[in-house]
């Protein structure tokens, strides 16, 4: 893997985040708006199970998940646009390898996801959110892997969408269930079983455990991390292969 090529493509994606209003809104401003809205509305309402924990405290890990899963849509839109504008074909005529190209996308989206978590956390803390664990940094690992799975789902969506508008629609197949089963919507035992089919479940569930003070020695947290990591790596590999085989034209 050539570092110069990968870094150039990585910088390209990060410049797009800053310069393209659609991506800036979707990936940075939307998390800010969500955190502010939920924080101001829910920070003083305690949960039924524990009066010390507000509904907002319960929701913050869900907001992390929501913003990471939103990456499915932005990746799907970006790849359909790149394909339509001939940018993918053009890159294919340079010595750039698939690993360098995909690597830069994966790294940029993980960086974006971590940035989102940092922004959400700072805002949430200002609004009264309380972290009851020293293992907070582990949250970054969970959202990093979740972002990885989102890149994979985004590539699968881009394979079947012919335009960026259609990409938004197709990516809903992966976005909506994850939003319903893995953000801030309370789940029954039955829905929890369904949720286990989606990567967001493992992220949100574990981050909620960490933030509510469950010690890091709890094996469930680590099992969730391993399951999420394997799930995400498989999805990004499958997404890359499907897009390479069927999505270029």
């Amino acid at each position: 893997m050539n570092v110069q090529r990968t870094m150039a493509l990585l910088k390209l994606e990060l410049k797009k985040l800053i310069r393209d209003p659609t991506f800036l809104f979707s990936l940075i401003l939307l998390p800010v708006i969500l955190t502010l809205a939920f924080g101001l509305a829910m920070r003083d309402i305690p949960t039924d199970s524990n009066p010390d924990i507000s509904i907002f405290d319960f929701m913050v890990p869900g907001i992390y998940g929501f913003t990471s899963v939103y990456i499915v849509m932005t990746v799907a839109m970006a790849f359909t646009d790149y394909r339509k504008e001939g940018l993918l074909d053009r890159i294919n005529t340079t010595p750039t390898t698939s690993a360098e190209f995909m690597g830069s996308h994966v790294i940029s989206n993980i960086i974006i996801s971590i940035l989102q978590v940092a922004i959400i956390t700072v805002l949430a803390l200002i609004l009264g959110f309380r972290i009851r664990s020293t293992g907070f940094l582990l949250a970054f690992a969970f959202v990093g892997f979740l972002a990885l799975s989102s890149v994979g789902f985004g590539l699968i969506s881009a394979t079947f969408a012919k335009s960026s508008g259609a990409a938004v629609g197709v990516s809903m197949i992966f976005f909506m269930p994850q939003m319903i089963f893995g953000t801030w919507i309370p789940m029954s035992d039955d829905t929890q079983v369904v949720a286990m089919f989606f990567p967001i479940y493992y992220s949100t569930n574990s981050i909620q455990m960490i933030f509510s003070g469950v010690p890091l020695t709890d094996i469930t947290i680590w099992i969730n991390l391993v399951v999420l990591a394997i799930y995400s790596i498989v999805i990004v590999i499958v997404g890359t292969l499907i897009f390479k085989r069927f999505g270029k034209a």
Binding site: K15, L87, R90, T93
Partner: protein, 261 residues
């Protein structure tokens, strides 16, 4: 397998050949987009692929640069077989696609530098080469602006410079002047002509008769995916006893190149 192992280059009959196409065919379902095309391109020449829209020019170029797989036939670029050694070919070529493939949120200069980085050019060399290219087409000032603010002609200029930043030995220019006004087109012709002086081999597709005549050392006239005739512009006109390539096409096919546009 390289051309030196399999083609005329090995046989020592044409050491000067940098691109060789042998019995190339491309079918899209039952449509024969390219049908049994064969020709050779010499080192340091401008080779024009002339034909009306839909003649198979872009399909041929796309197969030469590895973006489309041929149905049958062989292509050798810079001594390498496109099917087997595409990565080596990518080190040798620069491609200016027909559609201006440019990141609109980057400036013109940033687009050029991005492609320089994709060719892993040393940072210092990249800056010097970018300055030189922009200066050559009087684009230095405009290059600082975001590409989304460029006119169609300006986008095409940057599109071409992006193909040149890697200092390729072989350049594929697919309709590079479409959408340019007459003044910029003339200037671009001069620039393409100067590439030959720098030892570059240029494969140029066009449906502008003037462009093919003014720039090309050899012209392959193609229609319905087939090679109709091949030679120097002057040679073709003399052979068919007419004054321009349009009339050559008319004489051979009974219709004008511009009829397909």
């Amino acid at each position: 397998m390289t051309i030196s192992e399999e083609s005329d280059l090995k046989k020592g009959s044409s050491d000067n050949i940098v691109v060789e196409i042998q019995n190339l065919k491309k079918n899209f379902d039952d449509i024969k987009a390219v049908n049994d095309l064969s020709f050779k391109i010499n080192k340091g020449e401008i080779f024009g692929l002339l034909g009306p829209n839909g003649a198979g020019k872009t399909t041929t170029i796309k197969m030469m640069i590895g973006l489309l797989k041929p149905t049958s036939g062989e292509i050798y670029v810079g001594g390498y077989n496109v099917r087997k050694d595409l990565n080596k070919i990518k080190e040798l070529i620069g491609v200016c696609p027909q559609q201006a493939a440019i990141y609109k949120f980057l400036s013109g200069r940033e687009n050029i530098e991005l492609y320089g980085n994709l060719h892993a050019i040393d940072k210092k060399v990249l800056k010097e080469r970018t300055d030189e290219l922009l200066e050559a087409v009087d684009f230095t000032e405009q290059s600082k602006r975001k590409a989304k603010k460029y006119s169609g002609g300006m986008l095409r200029q940057i599109n071409m410079l992006m193909a040149l930043i890697g200092d390729p030995d072989i350049l594929f220019l697919d309709e590079p002047t479409v959408g340019m006004d007459a003044r910029v087109r003339r200037k671009t012709w001069e620039f393409i002509g100067s590439l030959k002086e720098r030892g570059k081999t240029v494969v140029l597709t066009t449906h502008y008769i003037e462009e093919a005549e003014a720039l090309s050392d050899h012209v392959a006239i193609i229609d319905f995916g087939e090679l109709i005739d091949l030679g120097t512009p002057k040679g073709l006109m003399e052979k068919h006893n007419v004054e321009d390539l349009e009339k050559v096409f008319l004489k051979i096919t009974g219709r004008r190149i511009t009829e397909g546009l």
